[in-house]
């Protein structure tokens, strides 16, 4: 990951990053299809994803990956062309194929063992069987029979027209019966095989048989992806003697022209080049343009069959339309000699003989594809890939900057400079800028949780397969944004919890039916923002927590005393204890007894909390509540027994000055305060923290009403409120360990460390345990 890395390796890293995204698109697309999405664009997206993986893998020589992707792509191409219906079985196979594709990528990346050859081969066979199940021969399939090739060619041209037409939402296309050897005009009047080049001087003698004809019709997308048709034509010209024919017949009138569409197509006859070389040129743009490859021998045969018909049809069409100048000259031919130095095909077309009448129209035409890449680049939000370490370093430095700025400001105040002095004014500007930089940097790290959610359908499929249960995963709120670190560290706990939900939560299909539920269980994974935190909910409609059993196991493992009286909530929480496992047998999926313990710890490490709500027979809901960012938060700076503390603003409801009459004592130590006609517990923070042993009269301090995640209210008693401030969160665990009642630390303007209170833990502990002022001394 440093500068010394081989540039090729660096590109490969980017390729694999792209693969991750493509796999996400692939899976999302397939799931959408499974869910009943019939949009052609969805199918296209799936095809593109597979194709791009294949294209990139080919460039890096990842043979296994290419082979698998190719078979996958072939089938997807059938689906895309509408020759194969995407039924339920098909989608299931495709989903499994996407899993294997992911395995292939992981293996190629060196992250995983080589793919199970039998599994891969099995799926290849399955995919091929599905592909073969069609009457038609796939054009993209490696068919070696030249007769079949010739038959397929005409239809392919039509299909390309069809796909292009629908993608551009143009006039509906009526399929025309295929007549082998007798090409039909599609609605564009696009005739790939009509104008043989025999009339041209540069045409090689009839020894055309050892060449290839490529009909190449770029779509707007291809230009948007920064590919240039001219360069590809030049590349073709290098392969052998090439004859390029421009077909501008699809050019609309200038007013109707969209700057981001591709209207031009070319027919290139190449003599002396192999098929694979020719196909390689289009490797990276395959899905962004329509291409057909035909052996020249077959072209000659079919072209001779009906040349007169073609010309007549074309003239009729040209006359029928309102005569724009360009319509008189729909096709311009030119020849490119193999080296073709400096002659970009598109502008060169203007210099070809017999083009004078079209001189006014053509510049606009040739400008269209050339201009489109820059236009598109400007309109689509450009993105860059940045190593996460660099962003993190930036965030750390900005954190230091904020602290330093605050310290400087405090020093200036202490030095007694007038507020109107130049230094003070400048410092205020600096503060604004610092805050702005901080906000901008934090925004860089905000990421949708989608990247984690996308990995889950596969997991659910696999676990469902292993457990023999039928599971439907429903996700919601994938676009909820949260700090990148949080996103990354969510994957593991969510994985654990989904596994548990399926393995332990859901019943088998028979049990479910017996219980009057649908045989297919539902697991729901949802993300949402709630009061400045992100909440992740994992719920299932299974059997719920078996409290009897959980309690029994906890007692038998010595985790709780036999006679302990536990509330339902407390019993549910037993599953988070280290070493607790309810699985009778240790399975591959869950049941090693580390799951929920690890989940809770990793959530706590993120400053989050996990709660369970379970109702027997109906299912369980696990709720994770996490901070949006791990770096800064808004806090209220308070003091308690000469110590400065920070209370998270998100937990604070309001603050008030307690009157002695509002405070009532309950028993020896505990007190409550009247807040909006309700008694809420009053917690003397300094005493709970062990900063002070003797209680002070509540009326001498300030009470801050807080609310926990669970909605429990309490009043925290401090000596004074210093103010509200955004603080940079510093982990105590980096160099020390978790401290009960303390969420983290921060550094204040005076350079000293202040502790950030964990309001939930404070309230919960104060409620359950007697206040022990001597705790600090105890150990």
């Amino acid at each position: 990951m440093n500068d010394a890395v081989d540039p090729f390796e660096a590109i490969k890293v980017v390729f694999f990053q792209e693969c991750d995204e493509l796999l996400g698109d692939l899976e999302a697309g397939l799931l959408a299809i499974e869910g009943g999405d019939t949009e052609l664009e969805t199918v296209n997206a799936v095809f593109r994803a597979v194709h791009s993986v294949k294209g990139g893998a080919g460039a890096f020589g990842l043979e296994d990956l290419v082979r698998f992707a190719h078979v996958f792509e072939t089938l997807m191409d059938e689906v895309r062309a509408g020759r194969k219906a995407c039924d339920d079985t098909m989608v299931k196979t495709l989903l499994r194929a996407s899993d294997v594709l992911a395995d292939h990528i992981a293996a190629a990346r060196g992250q995983a063992d080589p793919v199970d050859a039998a599994r891969s081969a099995g799926l290849v066979a399955e995919l091929e069987a599905l592909t073969r199940g069609e009457v038609y021969v796939a054009p993209a399939a490696p068919v070696s029979d030249p007769v079949m090739d010739a038959l397929a060619t005409d239809r392919t041209g039509m299909d390309a027209g069809l796909a292009g037409g629908e993608a551009q939402a143009e006039a509906p296309f009526e399929p025309v019966p295929v007549m082998p050897g007798l090409p039909q005009a599609d609605e564009f009047g696009f005739r790939p095989v009509v104008f043989d080049l025999k009339a041209l001087d540069t045409l090689p003698p009839p020894a055309v048989a050892n060449g290839w004809r490529v009909v190449f019709r770029p779509r707007g997308r291809m230009y948007a992806h920064a590919n240039e048709a001219g360069l590809m034509l030049r590349e073709l010209a290098r392969l052998g003697q090439a004859t390029v024919t421009l077909d501008a017949s699809e050019l609309p009138d200038l007013e109707a022209m969209s700057a981001e569409e591709g209207y031009l197509s070319w027919t290139v006859d190449i003599v002396g080049a192999s098929e694979s070389d020719v196909r390689d040129v289009f490797d990276f743009v395959g899905s962004d343009c329509d291409t057909t490859f035909t052996a020249l021998a077959d072209v000659a045969a079919s072209a001779e069959a009906a040349p007169a018909f073609d010309i007549a049809a074309l003239l009729a069409r040209a006359q029928a339309e309102v005569a724009a100048p360009m319509m008189l000259e729909p096709i311009v031919s030119m020849a490119v000699a193999p080296p073709a130095p400096g002659a970009a095909p598109v502008p060169a077309a203007g210099t070809a003989p017999g083009t004078t009448t079209a001189a006014t129209a053509r510049p606009a035409a040739s400008a269209s594809p050339a201009a489109s890449p820059s236009v598109t680049a400007a309109s689509a939000a450009p993105t860059i890939r940045v190593d996460l370490d660099r962003v993190d370093r930036l965030i750390n430095v900005v954190g230091e900057l904020v602290i330093q700025q605050a310290m400087l400001a405090q020093r200036v105040v202490e030095s007694g400079l007038a507020r109107s002095s130049g230094i003070s004014v400048g410092l205020e500007d600096l503060e604004l800028l610092t805050r702005e930089i901080q906000d901008s940097v934090m925004a860089i790290r905000a990421q949708p949780v989608k990247s984690v959610f996308q990995r889950m359908p596969r997991l659910v499929r696999e676990v469902a397969e292993m457990t023999g249960k039928r599971v439907r995963l429903v996700t919601a709120g994938e676009d909820t944004e949260v700090d990148k670190t949080v996103v990354e560290r969510l994957a593991e706990p969510i994985t654990h919890m989904l596994r548990n939900a399926i393995d332990h939560g859901l019943e088998g299909p028979d049990d479910r039916v017996a219980a009057g539920k649908p045989a297919e269980g539902t697991v729901r994974l949802a993300a949402l923002h709630r009061s400045g935190r992100i909440v992740i909910e994992i719920s299932d409609d299974g059997r719920g927590i078996n409290r009897e059993r959980v309690r029994g196991i906890a007692v038998s493992k010595g985790l709780v005393a036999e006679d302990a009286s536990l509330s339902d909530e407390e019993i549910d929480n037993l599953i988070f204890l280290p070493g607790f496992s309810t699985a009778d047998t240790v399975s591959d999926i869950s049941g090693r007894g580390v799951g929920m313990d690890v989940v809770r710890r990793s959530i706590q490490a993120l400053g989050g909390r996990i709660t369970i709500a379970s109702s027997p027979g109906k299912g369980s809901v696990f709720t994770l509540s996490l901070p949006l960012t791990l770096a800064v938060m808004d806090g209220m700076v308070v003091s308690a027994a000469e110590q400065t503390l920070v209370a998270p603003l998100t937990a604070i409801v309001e603050s008030l000055l307690p009157r002695a009459a509002d405070v009532h004592h309950v028993g020896g130590h505990d007190a409550v305060i009247t807040f909006r006609e309700k008694f809420v517990p009053l917690i003397d923070v300094a005493q709970v923290m062990g900063f002070r042993t003797e209680p002070v009269p509540p009326s001498s301090g300030v009470a801050v009403i807080v609310e926990t995640e669970a909605g429990v209210r309490a009043a925290l008693l401090f000596d004074a409120i210093q103010g509200q401030r955004q603080v940079v969160i510093k982990s105590l665990e980096t160099n020390y360990q978790q401290v009960p009642g303390i969420a983290a630390a921060t550094i204040l303007g005076d350079g000293r460390v202040a502790l950030i209170l964990d309001v939930d833990a404070l309230v919960t502990n104060a409620r359950r345990k007697p206040v022990r002022a001597d705790l600090k001394m105890a150990s």
Partner: protein, 162 residues
């Protein structure tokens, strides 16, 4: 406790015949030393923010250029009298495990070289608390210096709960 004893003894055998550079410091009348490679910097005492429910030897945390640094009163940790820190006390910032920890001592006295062969085992008379940290004794110019093992300076959460 078992684990506490394991670490010092196993590393004693590993280092028995090598020359090591150590940094010596003073707590009250006693002299101790630790491996110089584990010390990152030495700085003067700055007031620490106390931690709630922390053991008595945890003086609290200070800001070390943006990082939160826990301060351990070594005297209290070794079972000597608790230090009342003042401006002349010294904090040695040391790597302990994967963490950075500030060690509060009276003064840093010397940088010394020690031949591992001259190291003598901690006598059996020493208390468990001393044996947990002092992995050996050696003589230098008529003084006795205890070699300190830092591994268990800050207990893990489990150890503290037990």
């Amino acid at each position: 406790m078992m684990m506490m004893n394991e670490t010092p003894s196993s590393s004693t055998t590993a280092s028995s015949s090598t020359i090591r550079e150590l940094i010596a410091f003073r707590i009250g009348e006693q002299e101790f030393c630790i491996d110089i490679m584990s010390v990152r910097e030495i700085r003067g005492w700055t007031p620490a923010t106390p931690l709630p429910r922390a053991p008595g030897y945890m003086k609290g945390v200070i800001n070390l250029r943006g990082a939160v640094l826990p301060i351990v009163d070594l005297a209290a940790r070794f079972g000597l009298a608790t230090t009342e820190p003042s401006a002349r006390h010294v904090i040695m910032v040391a790597h302990v495990g994967g963490r950075l920890v500030g060690l509060l001592v009276d003064a840093v006295s010397d940088i010394i070289q020690m031949d591992g062969a001259t190291l003598q085992a901690t006598p059996d008379m020493a208390s468990d608390q001393v044996k947990a940290f002092v992995k050996g004794l050696f003589a230098l110019e008529g003084r006795m210096i205890s070699l300190v093992e830092l591994g268990w300076i800050i207990p893990d959460v489990e150890a503290q709960a037990a």
